[in-house]
């Protein structure tokens, strides 16, 4: 199609929307609702995955040694553990360090009480390794291995917080895909109705165009443009709303739930929207295109 014809078809497409305001508006609103939910779930799932990754980084298994174990034996154990593939790094905490940490944490302001222990270390025999994992899902395997080692009295690990979190993320993913699929269907149905009305309003004009010798493409292009513009507006609105709301929502959650003491638990809006904006726009335009395409296939035949 020629450039000048494209211009003409664009103009006609915009006119269609204007003439057909009510239905165009309804279509834009449903697409906007669909994309809004999509964007919201997208942000939630992305954040869950981010937290999951953060948790994995901090996930560690602590092992305490049997009483009377020698320093050489501890070093040897450390070497055995370090060579395992799922282990990222190993940190040794001596009994004295453990006591210092404990005092700092629990006797703050009651130093006198702590001093009453004198030079006795109540945590004698509490030296430990903290083992950081490369891959949280290998935790159980490692724990079984550690329990089987000689010289280890106790293995401490936080049971599968990480696994629970990833389960939640997956669940949210499924629920959101279902809802979005339903809304997607409704949106396409509404766009299709809008275009059908546009076609019937312009029936006479279309008949004359065909009589004069317009190509199919030329007859259809204005309606495709109409669908695409509806899709574009319908996706731009919710993305803009989400963009301006995102930081506020994160702040609110961080302040409300102490579990997420700081906003560093969340992705920045840049990290979300550099993916969300193109994905949402393509989705909206795609819905508009498909909605008008299927209608035209049915209704605009020469």
């Amino acid at each position: 199609m020629k450039i000048s014809s494209m211009g003409y078809c664009m103009k006609q497409g915009v006119k269609n929307i204007h003439r057909n305001r009510m239905f165009s508006f309804a279509s834009i609103i449903t697409i906007a609702a669909c994309i809004f939910l999509f964007g919201a779930f997208f942000a939630v799932v992305m954040n869950f995955r981010f937290m999951f990754a953060e948790l994995e980084k901090n996930l560690c298994v602590t092992v305490f040694f049997t009483e009377g174990i020698s320093d050489e034996e501890i070093t040897k154990l450390g070497e055995n553990i370090r060579i395992r593939p799922e282990v990222d790094r190993l940190e040794y905490t001596s009994a004295d360090e453990a006591w210092e940490n404990y005092k700092a944490q629990y006797f703050e302001g009651y130093e006198a009480a702590a001093d009453s222990f004198g030079d006795d270390n109540p945590l004698e025999g509490s030296s430990s390794y903290e083992i950081y994992l490369k891959d949280a899902s290998k935790q159980e395997e490692l724990v079984t291995f550690l329990k089987g080692l000689d010289g280890i009295r106790q293995v401490n690990y936080s049971a599968s917080t990480a696994n629970n979190l990833s389960d939640i993320a997956v669940l949210i993913g499924y629920v959101s895909i279902t809802i979005i699929a339903i809304l997607l269907g409704v949106s396409i149905f509404l766009i299709s109705n809008t275009i059908t009305i546009g076609v019937s309003v312009r029936k006479e004009e279309i008949a004359i165009m065909k009589l004069i010798g317009a190509t199919d493409t030329f007859v259809r292009a204005p309606f495709i443009v109409e669908g695409i513009i509806i899709g574009l507006i319908g996706s731009a609105i919710p993305v803009a709303i989400l963009y301006f709301a995102y930081d506020h929502v994160i702040e609110y959650i961080a302040a409300r739930f102490t579990l997420f003491g700081s906003s560093s638990w969340f992705l920045s809006s840049y990290d979300i929207f550099r993916y969300l904006i193109p994905v949402a726009l393509i989705l909206g335009i795609g819905m508009g295109f498909i909605g008008s395409r299927i209608t035209l296939r049915k209704h605009v035949k020469i």
Binding site: K2, S4, S5, E204, I208, I212, G213, F218
Partner: protein, 229 residues
Amino acid sequence: MIILENVSKKYSSGNPALENINLHIEKGEFVFIVGTSGSGKSTLIRLLMKELEPTSGKIYVNQRFLNKIRRSKLCNLRRDIGAVFQDFRLLEDRSVYDNIAFAMKVVEAPTKKIRPQVLSMLSMVGLLDKYGKFPKELSGGEQQRVAIARALVNNPAILLCDEPTGNLDPENSWEIMKILEEANNRGTTVVVVTHNIEIVEAMKKRTVTINNGTIISDVKAGGGVIYEN
């Protein structure tokens, strides 16, 4: 230019609208088609534009074999043909100028050519001063002249008119016929379906009479119309 060989058309209901039609129209001819109401004249015109498919027989228009034209190539046939109807079929929401320019935009004519070509058509049908008016602001005769200008603006090889003067008084009818004759003089093949026997008698053109779906007479220089309306 137009060839029909043993063409029949039967609508799903009832008797055949056309039966075993054989007709040759040469390039540059001016042909009247007359006949009683319901005799099949409009059916014939619609077959030539491939708005309808013949039930049997072959149709050629401007060297195109209509039976074999695919839907996607139909626009090429339509560009060879200008069509004019009793009810004008103008777009009410557009000015005279835009109605005619529309026909050029639709076939993606070069933008630069549109304005001079539309103005030349308007001057041919004598409506240069009305170019900004809307169809509702024009008389029936003027509206039909706009429709003719639109049909001719892309220089079609053939002009098909189905009762172009059906809604017009004698004076306007004559003006329309003069314009059609003018187009014919410029080389366009013209086929006119009409009930206006007076005009047919006066213009002395080839006249084909259809009755009950068959051609009952084909007279070279008009005048010899034998049917009662």
